[in-house]
Symmetry: C3
Subunit: 464 residues, 3 copies
């Protein structure tokens, strides 16, 4: 079984901690004394392996750190392509490209402007695929660097309050990060730029899958006016595991000691405006700027400042010398983290804690609903000819489907029975799906266009 | 003597078989059990060698497989350049680039939009040059992959019927392929898109040099209406050698057994429309599409489907799971084939069967004719200042010249005597050329413009 | 202490000779018998090191030869980026990029269109940075290749007459070269294209820092009309050291023997028009063309022809076979020279002759003067937010400042006292600077705009 890393959800908490332990080991063996976060030297683990780097969007950090990681492991890299110089310029699909590249390299990393492109590549290629950023969807290896930085700084994630600032709508690093924070017990506090709020699908997932509880910020901060600019706090379930063992956890502020809930901001995580993902007419609002002045507020006295970089103007250079700034460390840890990830994914240093993934119900039909996200890879001109529409049925009563590629949710308004060609809007009835009998529709109009008629008392839609 | 691979004609049949035997050996030693066509690991043959990759046009397959091949041999690669990021952007000529790069790398691969660019690079550089595609001219390493795929599938080439579909005019892979097919005894059956027929120079060469006989398809297929869409079959000379030894050859269909000529289609070789080579106003006609429906015809029951990739829409994804489809294998064999070719060209594992190339008469003068192909490298703005016009005299009575770069033929209408400054249109008289005495002209107007006068009874043009 | 090579001034003459000796050793051990200037094979010196190649402008020679050098030393290379495929496309600053890359690679080479960009990178990164060309400023590794080529040809630099032809204004190779020539005792003879003369800052530096004496060409060549097209000769100080030990120096012409000053041209160094640096409306004048005809003049009988390449049309192909042409050798020596430089900069084979750099006075204030060079990196949109204005005070009476990045000189017209807010135009008074007291202004208007008033008899500007 090959191992793909497309979303942060593709790794369990234990696997993430295994990766961090291995990164620790690489740093211990290979870091330069004066720079404990920097790797030097070459191992031989991957010396018979090649990595293919498929970059359909610009990158410095991710590409260079993946390349450096592979070379430091003794492996080699197939010339980092960018779309303009590969057959993508001739209209080749991701599906074809990966089926070709699987014969040349032992694994591939991919960055692509379409959401779900990395999953499509993983589906078609029989080598491991690692997502290096797919549109506004996810960027899981950045999240690994972010979490590892906090661990190296001895910042506990459990009960930590992490404020996420900026373009929460299009920032793929944000999406991977908030899921991970919730899973490791941190509280997520969005502070979006106007009009660039966290997508509903993401916040819903925080609540429904990762068991976070949305609490009004006014209530969470007990009416403290210092936090009056905040709207909501996604409070993680207490049972979620912190990355740093409890006894090593520094006390984040006096509230911890008193047993009262912790009420400061531990991390401000800033992201740039994803200009390349804005539609033509889209307004950008007043984008927040984090600088020395902003960080001089009392509530930020012990607050770390993080940023996935590159920055544009939302994070001032006047914080570069500030000890609270961790952003260059996030970039620095890119090499040991990606070395560890590669070694694990290739099975050179295998995971020991891997568990079977939970079973999910797959729904896939050519008729009926299509993913409603226009940026989904299933709508890309070079892919829509061949990529089948596929959804996970993540909920019933009422039914909720999730595109397996871009992970946008879709709430169908009715469904039909392919045998009787009758449809119903009574979604509460549906408990399990038989994919060869049931077809979902966005609305009744679509059902009728597809040739279905409303059910009658005598001709009912069957279901499980 | 350095060894350049610019056209498929630069390798003898025996050398091609040597390359295939070496590729077999690499696959035997290095393939993954579950994927017998995929190379893994690193040899040390080329560990002190560097390859320079000069790409003036996009590439995935060719570039990545060459890079992978070089790395799997233990060598290394100079960062695959594309025109936009090299001095070509400043107007540097291919001739200068290769004379620089010869000092940095041990051999070079080149892809370029101009026909004949690879030959020019080989002429100026004193390292081996391998053509990775030069405009619409040739792409010999793709042909090696194509033939090797057929050999691995135990498809005999001798007497095989290969239908070539699509853009036969601009498809460089097609040109290299049809020569090789003829040389190995296969019959070539063109099925061009409208207006994109096989160039006259190519079909003439099939007949005159490779001894293929054009037979009307109606006659070849004995009036079988199933083949009514075909026009002509280039029937190869019987003496041409098949790639698979006779005793291992599978019977292709019942006709073989009966001793009657084989009358099915063994391979459908599909190519995409070379959109980047179409002139502005050029019509593309109705481009053929090969899909499950097309391949469901009885005549294609045992027919392999090949494609050099990338595809656009001429080859449907609905054939991807069909066992007749060999196109991903063609791409997969790119690594062992190119490993073998590199090892041979660098002399790391020398050819044993190399024969001296046949002697040809070179004609080169600054006055008189120029290559009539506007896409020839001799007309490229960065090259025309320095590239001398050069032709092989491939025929006399009447004279026929072939540009040594792009291999377009040129039939001069008259020639002159540089000593007497007299010209004649009596080409039948000319048997051998003395390059310091004879100058060819496209027509009489050109002769007169150059200052030549018609010969008279007393002032004759001398000739050999 | 890390070692950056940003200008040719960052290496002493002794260090340059050390680099040349090491290049000699590499050539001796690794060159191919038939090609004594070409390196083959792989050493292991740098096998645990990575080089990052940051190219914001096109390159073939420099990039390929640096890559080849690093690979021949056994090291490896992080995929040569170009601006379009890195985060620079998202607006990332050089300062941020280098602070990220310092964690991935052991040193970086950078090419950038802004003057001073390499110094900025060196300032922010804590790995060694080598300038591979920064706008029209310097290109020191090209100069190393140029000087080394002359040494290999046994051309003495001491008292050699080197004519520099073409775009002397924007040619960065020219600027590094003329300084080196002066330092090694050669005489510099500019022959610019019209309007593309040597910048005043450069010629002044030749005179003031490198002790060259400008002599009218008419006088230098004793009225010889053959040299009537020349304007001035920068005659180097006699004490400057030649690269070739005296006893090995070939006599350049008969004048040497007679003890009279040498009066021929030893080298014609041609450069192309730097089209990419011309402003929209800028005139290019009649650009000189060096060809067989030009070089057939008697004065050039024994003259070497050099060119950093790529050429456009200023250097004719008709000289390619001429033994006087050294330009392909300049390119060829790129690998051994850069191997030696890398080995030295990384400390793998340390310099033995390094001396402490001379102390200079740094002036840096946010108010007052800014660099007057519009192409300076301090004015680049992605850098001006954070790069502080910094100048060396290179002269007093009157004061002259030099931007530490682009090295343009700036002559302030007045200066003020920050304590009293008074200014004076009496620059002759100023001897030493106390950076916390003195602020320089371009002119009185700027001083007044900044809130300073003229000094009076009672309120004087204090100075050291």
């Amino acid at each position: 079984m090959k191992r793909d890393i497309i979303t942060i959800g593709d790794l369990t908490n234990s696997e993430i901690e295994e990766i961090f332990d291995l990164a620790d080991q690489f740093l211990k063996e290979m870091s330069v004394p004066a720079h404990p976060h920097r790797i030097r030297g070459r191992r031989t683990d991957a010396q018979s392996h090649l990595m293919a780097a498929l970059f359909y969007e610009p990158s410095t950090r991710t590409r260079f750190s993946f390349e450096a990681a592979m070379l430091r492991l003794g492996g080699n890299v197939l010339g980092s392509a960018d779309a303009a110089t590969t057959s993508a310029a001739k209209g080749e699909s991701v599906a074809d490209t990966v089926r070709v590249v699987e014969n040349y390299a032992d694994f591939a990393i991919i960055r692509h402007p379409s959401e779900g492109a990395a999953r499509a590549a993983a589906e078609y290629g029989d080598i491991p695929v690692i997502n290096a950023g797919d549109g506004g969807h996810e960027h899981p290896t950045q999240t690994l660097c972010d979490l590892y930085t906090l661990r190296k700084e001895s910042k506990a994630l459990s009960s930590a309050n992490v404020m996420i600032v900026g373009d929460l709508k299009n920032g793929r690093t944000v999406h991977s990060l908030v899921y991970a924070l919730a899973r490791f017990g941190a509280n997520v506090i969005p502070r979006p730029a106007k009009g660039l709020e966290l997508p509903v699908d993401v916040s819903r997932r925080l609540i429904e899958e990762y068991k976070a509880t949305p609490v009004p910020a006014r209530q969470f901060f007990a009416g403290n006016e210092e936090f009056g600019d905040l709207d909501v706090v996604y409070v993680s379930a207490e049972s979620n595991l912190g990355l740093v063992p409890a006894k090593q956890r520094p006390r984040l502020d006096s509230d911890v000691n008193s047993g009262a809930p912790h009420r400061g901001i531990d991390v401000v995580y800033v992201t740039r405006l994803q200009g390349e993902r804005l539609a033509g007419g889209e307004k950008r609002g007043d984008y927040p700027v984090i600088d020395k002045s902003f960080m001089s507020a009392k509530r930020f006295r012990d607050t770390s400042v993080m940023h996935p970089l590159p920055r544009v103007s939302e994070l001032s250079y006047d914080l570069d010398e500030d000890p609270r700034g961790l952003y260059f460390k996030q970039a620095a840890y890119g090499v040991p983290i990606r070395m560890a990830l590669i070694a694990k994914v290739l099975g050179l240093i295998p995971f020991v804690s891997t568990e079977p993934a939970p079973e999910m119900t797959l729904y896939s039909r050519e008729d009926g609903i299509a993913c409603s996200n226009p940026r989904c890879i299933t709508h890309h001109p070079s892919e829509r000819r061949h990529l089948r529409k596929k959804f996970w049925l993540i909920k019933t009563r009422p039914a909720m489907l999730r595109c397996i590629y871009c992970e946008h949710n879709y709430a169908p308004q009715c469904y039909g029975d392919v045998a009787t060609r009758r449809y119903t809007t009574d979604l509460a009835e549906l408990d399990t799906i038989y994919s060869d009998q049931i077809v979902f529709f966005g609305d009744e109009a679509q059902a009728r266009e597809t040739g279905f008629k409303p059910e009658t008392a005598t001709e009912k839609v069957r279901h499980g």
